[in-house]
């Protein structure tokens, strides 16, 4: 029997357990929050949000990807495009296996559970409606809130991320008074100013550079310069995560990695200049993950020459920093959009100048790209060049930027705001999907602060 046919299954009391879901394009972050904090999850489970097929035509759905050993030539089908759930056929299969099947590792009964789902800002109304309909009509969650991911981050202890000195009796603001949140994920990068947990919608800006684009760009560079890696997205992605960094001196680093004009022997190039790294590719027999090593001149050539070469070595030079550089200079590949620092400035220009000091002093970067070495330092340097001298610019990232949105959403689920915003199944059946979408779009409003 379809749970959607049940009538008035939701009682008046809010459900005791909440499924908090940050449904990213690359990974789902999921966990349960209950009324008493002891039984709730402290950290989410991270599930790959894809259906993958390896070269032996074996298919892996979601978390089954852990069982996959050989990632050569693996292909992915992703239900989330550009950050929004588009293909529900695939998404439902992944959710089913994670939460609703009999053997699911995080099994839950939707009719007694509340769902808090994080979505990307500025979604298309049609996609939002599809999401609401599936949640209520297919799964029959008893209560549900769909909010934009960046604003959930405000429900964390933001000042702890900045290590602001404070006395022990300081009251922690939840939601934080003012933050500027940068979410740099798989599909894109967004800038969201947030006041008291309410996103300032007119100032949200998006840059269409995300982890996927960076990986594909690295793939292209390697395919031109080394081997054809075009079918090895997974391996290149691991390489990007292990070896790439954001350069603080792009010009200087580029000069250090240049091989020089014809016949010239540049010392930095020969020794690696502290930048070049050797990456040992996985061979799918003994090694399933690549290894980063310091550059050893001639190692790659020696390995190629010896008949019984055991490892394929790839020397990464300017690829290491010119790939994340796209976040700060998208025009380098012809994408006509401003870089991240200019993106922040565009967002700020929409707002009254009086808000600038507060926002600039509380910039939080979340999402997988925040893990690049020197990312926040570079952003801080570039912002300092652009803002008035008097402004303090503080940029920080949480300890684990990938699960940060989930942690915020979990705090939100405990907060009384969740009760105010959530919609019950009964209300959905009474007023319909359009009403629900309108209510979510309306948000908290300002009339009842806190």
């Amino acid at each position: 029997m379809a749970p959607g046919r049940k009538l008035k299954s939701a009682g008046p009391a809010p459900p005791s357990s909440t499924l908090v879901l940050d449904n990213g394009a690359d990974t789902i972050k999921a966990g349960f929050v209950t009324v008493d904090d002891d039984t709730s999850d402290k950290a989410p489970r991270v599930i790959p949000n894809c259906i993958a097929r390896d070269r032996h035509n074996k298919t892996y759905v979601g978390a089954e990807l852990e069982k996959c050993k050989d990632f050569g030539e693996i292909t992915f089908r992703r239900p989330v495009e550009k950050g929004f759930i588009v293909n529900w056929e695939a998404q439902k299969e992944i959710w089913d296996r994670a939460f609703f099947d009999d053997k699911a590792p995080q099994r839950c009964d939707p009719s007694t559970t509340r769902l808090v789902l994080a979505e990307q800002p500025n979604s298309l109304p049609a996609l939002q409606t599809h999401c609401d309909q599936i949640v209520f009509e297919e799964y029959g969650f008893s209560s549900y809130y769909r909010g934009i991911g960046p604003s959930f981050n405000a429900y964390q202890d933001i000042q702890a991320i900045f290590h602001t000195p404070r006395t022990p009796d300081t009251i922690i603001d939840v939601p934080a008074e003012v933050i500027l949140l940068i979410d740099s994920g798989y599909s894109h990068t967004t800038v969201t100013p947030i006041l008291q947990g309410r996103p300032l919608h007119t100032a949200i800006r998006r840059l269409d550079v995300g982890g996927k684009l960076l990986t594909n760009h690295l793939t292209r560079l390697l395919s031109v310069r080394h081997f054809d890696m075009r079918n090895e997205t997974y391996i290149v992605n691991e390489m990007k995560e292990a070896a790439c960094y954001v350069s603080l001196d792009f010009k200087g680093d580029l000069d250090k990695t240049w091989k020089g004009t014809r016949g010239e022997r540049r010392k930095d190039y020969a020794t690696g200049g502290g930048i070049a790294k050797d990456y040992v590719l996985p061979d799918s027999h003994t090694r399933f993950h690549g290894i980063v090593r310091d550059h050893e001149p001639g190692a790659a050539a020696r390995a190629r020459k010896s008949a019984v070469s055991t490892e394929d070595i790839l020397t990464l030079r300017n690829e290491r920093f010119s790939v994340p550089e796209l976040l700060f200079n998208p025009t380098d590949i012809g994408l006509r959009q401003p870089g991240l620092a200019d993106l922040v400035m565009q967002s700020l220009w929409v707002l009254p100048v009086g808000l600038w000091p507060g926002l600039l002093a509380n910039i939080v970067v979340v999402g997988g790209n925040a893990k690049f070495v020197n990312f926040i330092q570079r952003l801080q340097v570039e912002l300092l060049e652009r803002v008035p001298d008097e402004c303090v610019v503080r940029v920080a990232r949480p300890e684990d930027p990938i699960v940060s949105t989930w942690l915020g959403a979990a705090n939100f689920a405990r907060h009384e705001h969740a009760d105010r915003l959530a919609v019950t199944k009964q209300e959905y059946e009474e007023h319909g999907a359009a009403w629900v979408a309108r209510k979510f779009a309306l948000g908290l409003g300002v009339d009842t602060l806190r």
Partner: protein
């Protein structure tokens, strides 16, 4: 291989996917034409600001566009991975759910649909008055019922009739959204928008009025007298410093936005997907585009005379020539 002097011009037809939509051609759309300058005549004289490479030919632009499309793909080649059937798949679905599950639309399809809907609303408002998909991004003046746990003070009680009327008016105009500003200004803006809409131009996005003026007054009253949205700093100020009175050290503190301003910012409805995309404004990029060597990634200091690709020096140029010859002939 010589392609007989035929240069492929960037085409806008990109997708072959199930489902279709009328996509009206209203000015530059962000998705496809972002990279193509409108006017290629006298490119050298009126170079587009920022496009310091005035040498972008149609061929290069086409290549650029294809490159960017390739960078946004999940897999290098087209693959279709069927969803493995599970035990639950035999379950019954409601008609709506079945429709959603069977839909094979991609994000690009949905985006085209949405743009078409917006354009339709602009040209023929009556056709879409009751389409819920268009008004999700608009502010709602009165919710059907007070759902929030804590009562929202004034809006509910007087708002219903007037609010609905206002919503209808906004619907007819079918503009998208913006912050609710002061009443008179809005009235004017709406007039302007109506004129613009009549001329078939882009309509600036305007809100339905948040609340009539008398209600706004009441709203203000409901706030605690000292309760600004962002409360003032209540802690003790830092210890005095001898340089505090030095006129040279005085810093300018911008005036803080008023509650009204903040409230309108915080209740403004979301922008649409296209509007939130960052782009260079009228003036274009502030700095010239950096160019890199196609082969090694160093600065692109030399241009290949045949195809215009940048390389850093003779070594890379030779490497590039091999490829260039196979592609364009001697």
């Amino acid at each position: 291989m010589n392609n007989f002097g035929v240069i492929e011009v960037a085409s806008t037809a990109t997708k072959t996917t199930p489902g279709w939509a009328y996509v009206p051609d209203t000015g530059p759309s962000l998705s496809a034409t972002a990279l193509q300058p409108k006017n290629r005549k006298r490119a050298a004289r009126n170079t587009q600001p920022g496009l310091s490479l005035s040498d972008l030919t149609a061929r290069q632009e086409n290549k650029l566009r294809k490159d960017l499309e390739a960078l946004n793909r999940d897999n290098q080649r087209d693959v279709s991975i069927p969803v493995p059937s599970s035990s639950r798949s035999s379950q019954k679905h409601t008609p709506t759910v079945r429709k959603i599950l069977q839909s094979q639309k991609t994000f690009a399809n949905h985006l085209d649909d949405y743009q078409a809907l917006l354009a339709l609303a602009e040209s023929n408002p009556a056709a879409v008055v009751n389409n819920p998909l268009l008004f999700l991004n608009k502010p709602v003046v009165a919710t059907p019922q007070a759902k929030s746990a804590s009562p929202a003070p004034v809006r509910e009680k007087g708002g219903s009739k007037r609010g609905q009327a206002a919503a209808k008016r906004a619907a007819v105009k079918a503009a998208a959204a913006a912050a609710a500003e002061e009443e008179e200004e809005e009235e004017e803006e709406r007039k302007r928008a109506r004129q613009l809409a009549a001329e078939g131009e882009d309509v600036e996005m305007i809100d339905s009025p948040a609340a009539p003026p008398d209600e706004v007054e009441k709203l203000v009253e409901t706030y605690p007298a000292d309760g600004t949205i962002l409360p003032a700093y209540r802690k003790r100020p830092p210890a005095a410093h001898p340089g505090d009175d030095d006129p040279l050290l005085v810093s300018v503190v911008p005036s803080f936005p008023t509650d009204e301003e903040l409230r309108s910012l915080m209740t403004a409805p979301p922008l649409s997907y296209m509007d939130s995309r960052a782009s260079f404004g009228e003036e274009g990029e502030r700095y010239p585009i950096r160019v890199f060597c196609e082969m090694c990634g160093y600065w692109g200091r030399v241009k290949c005379m045949k195809c215009g690709v940048r390389v850093c020096g003779l070594d890379c140029l030779e490497g590039h020539k091999e490829e260039c010859v196979t592609r364009y002939g001697l």
